[in-house]
């Protein structure tokens, strides 16, 4: 199969270039990641992140034929050749397909991504009804792969100030948790023209999420709660 891979090693390249290569596949190679591993066996300098190879760790997010996705769950058979592979857009490239995700995680950390509940914990679990637990579905499954945030124009323009779809999905995950007591603080923090309201419902995030999650809906829910609080 034919691959066209974005190459850049600051240690030796003056500027990035695209490398075309032909990779011989084995019959067992189903996913794009399998092809990349084959390519790396031929040219060991191709750099990309990978780990679980089943779509749960979020390591191998990249731009595949113009669309962000995970290489390990992208089927080779469904790709148009040559497959053009580029690093996730909008983040600084460290090398080849590896981007610097500092800004992405900074935004994730900025929403206080942990349960806040200052009452003394009971001996057992904090009780939560199945219906309350249901609220967290579609939120907690996020794997922090950054496909969504790096496909969001609002995040491209303001990665330092706009939390981005991934961070906002997690912000809502804690707002929606019946055990969390910091809803007010969370809403105060997000009530800002940049942090939350840069989202213009472009919905690229929904389009690319490899786990089928819907950050736009979560963002809508945050706005709804904020409005409810204000009026």
């Amino acid at each position: 199969m034919r691959l066209s891979i974005y190459r850049y090693d600051p240690d030796k390249d003056a500027k990035p270039y695209m490398q075309d290569m032909e990779v011989a596949l084995e019959p067992t190679d189903q996913m794009l990641l399998d092809a990349l591993v084959r390519a790396k066996a031929v040219d060991d300098s191709i750099a990309f992140r990978r780990s679980c190879r089943e779509g749960v760790c979020g390591s191998d997010a990249m731009n595949i034929n113009g669309k962000n996705g995970l290489a390990c769950i992208t089927k080779i058979a469904e790709l148009k050749e040559p497959v053009v592979l580029k690093p996730l857009p909008g983040l600084p490239v460290i090398r080849d397909l590896i981007v610097d995700m500092t800004q992405f995680f900074k935004q994730y950390h900025s929403i206080k991504p942990y349960l806040i509940n200052d009452t003394p914990p009971p001996e057992g679990e904090r009780v939560q009804s199945p219906e309350e637990r249901e609220e967290l579905n579609g939120l907690y499954e996020c794997i922090l792969c950054a496909c969504c945030s790096t496909s969001c124009p609002s995040f491209w323009w303001n990665p330092d100030k706009f939390v981005g779809p991934a961070g906002l999905l997690q912000a809502y995950r804690f707002i929606a948790d019946s055990r969390d007591q910091a809803t007010n603080e969370r809403l105060d923090d997000l009530n800002d023209p940049y942090r939350l309201f840069r989202c213009h419902s472009i919905m690229n995030c929904v389009d690319v999420c490899p786990k089928g999650l819907n950050p736009t809906r979560a963002i809508g829910k945050i706005k709804e709660i904020m409005l409810k609080r204000a009026v």
Binding site: A41, A47, C52, V56, C57, Y114, E123, G124, R133, L136
Partner: protein, 587 residues
Amino acid sequence: MALAVRKFDAVIVGAGGSGMRAALQLAEAELKVAVLSKVFPTRSHTVAAQGGVAASLGNNGEDNWHWHMFDTVKGSDYLGDQDAIEFMCRKANEVVYELEHYGMPFDRTPEGRIYQRPFGGQTRNYGEGPVARSCAAADRTGHAMLHALYQRNVRARAHFFVEWMALDLVRDAEGDVVGVTAMEMETGEVVIFHAKAVLFATGGAGRIYSASTNAFINTGDGLGMTARAGIPLEDMEFWQFHPTGVAGAGVLITEGVRGEGGYLLNKNGERFMERYAPTVKDLASRDVVARAMATEIKEGRGAGKDGEYILLKLDHLGAEVINKRLPGIREIALTFANVDCAKEPIPVVPTVHYQMGGIPTNYHGQVVVPKNGDPETVVRGFYAAGECACVSVHGANRLGTNSLLDLLVFGKSAGEQVIRDLKSEPMHKDLPRDAGEATRARLARLDGQSNGESVPSVAADMRRTLQLHCGVFRFPDLLVEGVAKIKDIAARAARTEIKDKSKVFNTARVEALELDNLIEVARATLVSAEARKESRGAHDRSDYPKRDDEAWMRHTLWYKEGDRLDYRPVKLKPLTVAAFEPKARVY
């Protein structure tokens, strides 16, 4: 030029479940801790655990820790240390509740309590029938748990060194561990982390096999470092084959599928587990089920064109239950097996999944080695927890959902032990004069190597060797041959060459260094397996089909130096209750 030195109270290597549970303990005690990880913490392999974490909460039917302890001892085929097993089973409820308080999104019972499902080998009243002991968040328990732990660590302001790969232990003249060398992957810079305590939580090494449910990163780094530092590895012959890996792809399908009511079929549509385990059937422990499946395939009753797999049927559960309790499985089956499991069965084969052995520790997470007649002398400054450690609670076979419990219980207890030790010995010991020398030599060898072999080809040979010579069923001639082969491959691994010499995020270098670790594990596995002349748990030999408690109820210790083997007794005495005497293992 000497390596740069950074000083911390404690260094934790690995940020999966056990590493982060320990980090939390230390960070909340306001210690200066560095947590090194090859990947961003939530990408650690704990994330892929599916079915649940064991604790006898009794939310879905009566349960207690005595039953859990019995199941674990029996599951281990009586090779587990009963003091550690009692410790783990008694601590289970506490650590699971803590996790819930951290924000873990467990599924709920109608009463709002943590939802629990049955799992293989987990029984009520000492083996009478299945019990719901596995606390679950759909079929994404590991993901939910790892994220909850990371989130809690963010709150506790733990200091993570992300994309740093630990390379070698630093021991001083007295044999105490005083630090670890590590490389920042982004820059290629190598640093000595000087610490009063080094805790390994580096996970397993399932990547020594070709077909594995494990992530690419599961390369046994902690085990390789330990072996190179002259510390033995324990019980490395015991590798768990998970009954249900997707045929061909190796991706895990949780035992929770069978816990929710799914079952296995051979090509005749026969529910064959009824023959092998009449009482609990498909919920027998994993070694038993994996062997039954392999037998069915071997005897020509496998499904598929070449009779190469078994069918896992769950469509009778209905789309609603599948979408609610097993949504991830449906996704995986669609992606990797092109099968909608709400309509048709999933093709599965036993696939390497978990390493029961590891770095020998006691239940406080302290690494212990035999010295001067004492089988358990503590290596000062060195701790291990999680899959890389052999406490040993899993013995010869681990029960499903006991691994996530292991991470929590022993991550925490290792953290607590570090805190205790730092109180009694508050000063750093000096680094030896030659600290970091071994690492520098290794890196210099790799950078200067010419006419060497490529890393992927040596690694592929290693994996094939393990797959062929040390599988579900083991044969004496294949084992002997395997030992010779792996020694040869180990020699080749010492001459690997990488073309890429860049300093920036050099993943070729990382993979070469990982192979150094894998190869130690592979050697330990084959040498230990060849030597153990009995069948116990996951170790099944054709020439010695029976368990031999007289001669072999003991732990193997493998030393890298000369592939030397030593043994230490199994601890049969629990902490407070009466011991479970060895019995025949029937499910």
